[in-house]
């Protein structure tokens, strides 16, 4: 019996480490199904463009997609709240837990299936590390330094950065470096040291700013055609769904290993200067969120979602923060003078 082949397209190029993350999911699914199911992982553009995977899954052009919700926030701004929303103090792990245990999944289903009437089922996985403020040609220390820059980001972060005086373009990862070369943008962020390195960020900018509130939590979105999924036998459905949870741990381990190694490479071998984003800019980001949140809350669904997130973070992060020892203290104890926060 030939295995059932699931056509899954990602929003990433072959060179991006995230393509490997998607294949990690495929490997798990294939092994768990005893080889009866196989995932054909296609890069962005193989069938449709990086930003078009939601339409494509809905229409059944592909059976599944590996992407992030912010890529379709043009269709409904609320999409961002499941990707990179306002930061109330929770990490990506906090927010992924909101999705599975705090009512996030139900709100997500309401948005995609009821409000937008889409034929998709979505799952989130892999709590990403906070995303760097990004890559700049010169140093940026103050909010004034940012004025008039054309900056690439996506989702609500785009609205946020516009409020901080930058002009924002949203592009898929594979188009960032060509856009820098063409002069379409002057600065950008994508996601993490490895992906950034993979598409050649270090060739077009030399100042890399870590730490930011613009996308402090995000997860991958695994999209399935609902018609396709519900036609499968229950065990296959379960493998596809729980495979997301399995890949989440595998991705986290790989990300810790590779992201940190690539950060070292950028610093030591590629001549990139690593900065911490200044307190002034971080403060301005929080103030910009303050302006943005009331605008978002004029929409009843977004209000409902944000209320749910706030309540979750208020309770959960209180526990997390109160409970957490000062890891920085311990690190400094054993590796003195390495990090200056």
């Amino acid at each position: 019996q030939a295995p059932l082949v699931v056509k899954m397209q990602t929003s990433w190029n072959d060179a991006n480490i995230w393509q490997e993350f998607a294949r990690d999911y495929a490997t798990r699914v294939e092994e768990m199904s005893g080889g009866r199911m196989k995932i054909d992982v296609l890069p962005a553009g193989a069938v449709v463009g990086a930003f078009q995977v939601l339409d494509a899954v809905n229409d059944g052009l592909i059976d599944a997609a590996h992407s992030v919700p912010v890529y379709w926030y043009g269709k409904n701004k609320a999409a961002s709240l499941f990707g990179t929303g306002p930061v109330f103090g929770g990490s990506a792990t906090t927010m992924l837990s909101w999705f599975y245990a705090g009512g996030g999944q139900e709100l997500y289903d309401e948005l995609t299936q009821e409000i937008m009437g889409l034929d998709v089922v979505g799952r989130l996985g892999f709590p990403m590390f906070a995303q760097p403020f990004g890559w700049f040609k010169g140093e940026v220390n103050t909010v004034a330094d940012l004025q008039g820059l054309k900056y690439r980001t996506v989702g609500l972060a785009a609205d946020l950065m516009s409020k901080m005086g930058m002009s924002v373009a949203q592009l898929p990862g594979g188009e960032i470096v060509p856009a820098m070369e063409r002069g379409v943008i002057d600065a950008f962020e994508f996601n993490n040291p490895s992906s950034d390195k993979d598409f050649g960020a270090q060739d077009v900018a030399k100042n890399y700013y870590l730490s930011s509130y613009h996308q402090a939590s995000e997860s991958f979105e695994f999209l399935f055609s609902r018609t396709f999924l519900e036609d499968l036998d229950p065990d296959f459905q379960a493998i596809l769904k729980y495979g997301v949870e399995a890949a989440s741990t595998a991705n986290t381990a790989k990300a810790m290993d590779r992201y940190s190694a690539d950060l070292q490479w950028l610093q030591n071998d590629a001549g990139v200067t690593i900065h911490r984003t200044s307190k002034e800019i971080l403060d301005a980001e929080l103030k910009a969120w303050d302006e943005l949140i009331p605008e978002l809350e004029t929409d009843p669904f977004m209000k409902k979602t944000l209320d749910s997130q706030r309540a979750w973070v208020e309770r959960v992060s209180y526990y997390e923060l109160m409970n957490s020892p000062d890891y920085g203290l311990a690190y400094d104890h054993y590796f003195p003078g390495k990090v200056k926060l």
């Binding site: 449709v48 078009q52 059944g60 188009e175 070369e181 002069g183």
Partner: protein, 472 residues
């Protein structure tokens, strides 16, 4: 039949169908949809509603539901999705603007002025008229991205002048045909934008990379023109005072200033701002278009009629190029969904070619394709098939693109589809025979081949400028 075999059949049939002479955009569209229908055929999904009808359904209901099932193939959605991808392609936005700029500049009498001036300025050189004609073509190539107008304008202007000066007719014709084709190689070339959009190579790098090869080719052409004029003076006699009048230095300077400087400024604004990363190609193209209108006004050549012509021609040429993309995006999505790229890649990898062998074969295929097909079809349809193979052989797609651009110069000059030659024949005096034109073109073809060999031997010619402007 396996899916990859079907993909190969799709490609083979397409090549056959091209020769039926139907508009290629729609042939591609049809092949994409037809084979896509097969690729996405899934009877349980398509006829799900039919299968779920209960027994009470009327005959009409069951028939109409069955037919709906027949049309419920996902290829149609893929086609629309790909169409929208072309519509929102940011690189291609520069196409209509550069076309518009070219059409405006064509109509601004600039060619006449340039040629007249250069003709006087160069009159003491051997083959002076040929040199003036070629340089006019090269300069004009930096203001337009297409071929055609330059050949005919120069054919009306420079050809009679050269014939009157008793130039060997085939020599004169060759100069104009070859010079008139430079516009698609020298930036802002529409062909390079299309190559960038078809291969995802950075357009600004391509522009930077094309500059020196373009100049090299112009240099080779000049060497040939001057060399032949020295060795065989009868083929390019010195013009008499009658044909090219003497002119006081000051007046000549003034002519140069008025004919050359505004155009040079425009070209510099456009290409300079792209190369120095000051503006995106689309932004630069808008400056070029607005600047072109201003220039035409200054030369008192701008009329309502000419503006309208430029506007209407822009939409027609843009539609011609971009509908090809609409067809080819669907075609190649289906081709790759069926695994066609993979199987071609495996086949070529299995041939055990060295990179140089591969490069020669690829360029030979493109050269041959250039006989029956135009550059737009070759770039949009066939280059993407070579693209994954470049990786296998470690060839930079940027380098390959420049070789293709040089190579396709020949597609305008070689029969049976030698458009440059036909344009010239169309406006030349009837005594000038097509065979004479082809004879005159041959040495220039040789120059193109020499320039390709030079690129291969000294890749720095291609890489120096893009590396200098954009690093790496």
């Amino acid at each position: 039949m396996t899916d990859p075999q079907v993909a190969l059949m799709m490609l083979g049939l397409f090549i056959v169908f091209v020769f039926l002479g139907f508009p290629i955009a729609f042939t591609l569209m049809a092949m994409g949809i037809g084979f896509g229908y097969f690729a996405y055929f899934d009877s349980s999904r398509m006829w799900r509603a039919f299968d779920r009808l209960d027994e009470t359904a009327s005959t009409w209901d069951s028939w109409s539901t069955w037919i709906e099932g027949f049309l419920n193939n996902r290829i149609f959605d893929l086609f629309v999705n790909q169409t929208f991808t072309v519509m929102s392609n940011e690189v291609l936005t520069a196409v209509p603007l550069f076309l518009f700029m070219g059409y405006i500049v064509e109509r601004s009498n600039i060619v006449d002025r340039l040629f007249t001036t250069l003709n006087i300025a160069s009159k003491n050189l051997p083959g002076s008229m040929g040199v003036a004609a070629l340089i006019t073509c090269a300069l004009f190539a930096t203001a337009t991205g297409i071929v055609g107008a330059v050949v005919t304008l120069m054919g009306l202007l420079a050809l009679p002048a050269m014939l009157k000066a008793r130039y060997e007719p085939s020599f004169a014709a060759g100069i104009i045909c070859a010079g008139g084709t430079l516009g698609i190689l020298i930036p802002p070339s529409i062909m390079l934008i299309v190559y960038a959009a078809a291969t995802n190579v950075s357009i600004v790098r391509l522009y930077a990379a094309a500059l020196l090869p373009g100049l090299t080719l112009v240099g080779l052409y000049l060497i040939y023109i001057v060399g032949r004029s020295i060795l065989q003076p009868s083929s390019a006699p010195r013009p008499t005072k009658d044909e090219v009048p003497d002119m006081p230095m000051l007046k000549l300077l003034w002519l140069i200033v008025t004919s050359f400087v505004p155009l040079a400024f425009l070209i510099f604004a456009v290409l300079g701002s792209i190369l120095f990363g000051l503006a995106t190609p689309t932004e630069a193209a808008s400056i070029g278009a607005l600047g072109g209108i201003l220039l035409a006004f200054l030369y008192r050549a701008m009329t309502w009629q000419r503006l309208r012509e430029s506007v209407y021609l822009t939409i027609r040429t843009t539609a011609m190029v971009c509908w090809l993309f609409v067809g080819s995006y669907t075609f190649s999505a289906v081709f790759s969904y069926l695994g066609g790229e993979q199987v071609i890649g495996d086949f070529v990898a299995g041939l055990d070619l060295t990179p140089i062998q591969f490069l020669i074969i690829a360029q030979l295929i493109i050269f041959l394709l250039g006989w029956p097909l135009e550059w737009s079809e070759i770039i949009i349809i066939f280059v993407p098939i070579f693209l994954p193979l470049l990786d296998v052989f470690g060839i930079d797609p940027l380098f390959f693109g420049i070789l293709v651009a040089l190579n396709l110069q020949t597609s305008f000059l070689t029969p049976p589809m030698a458009m440059s030659a036909y344009y010239l024949k169309g406006i030349a005096p009837p005594e000038l025979r097509l065979t004479q034109i082809f004879k005159g073109v041959m040495p220039f073809l040789l120059c193109v081949i020499i320039s390709m060999v030079l690129m291969y031997a000294f890749p720095q010619i291609v890489f120096t400028l893009p590396d200098m402007f954009y690093g790496r």
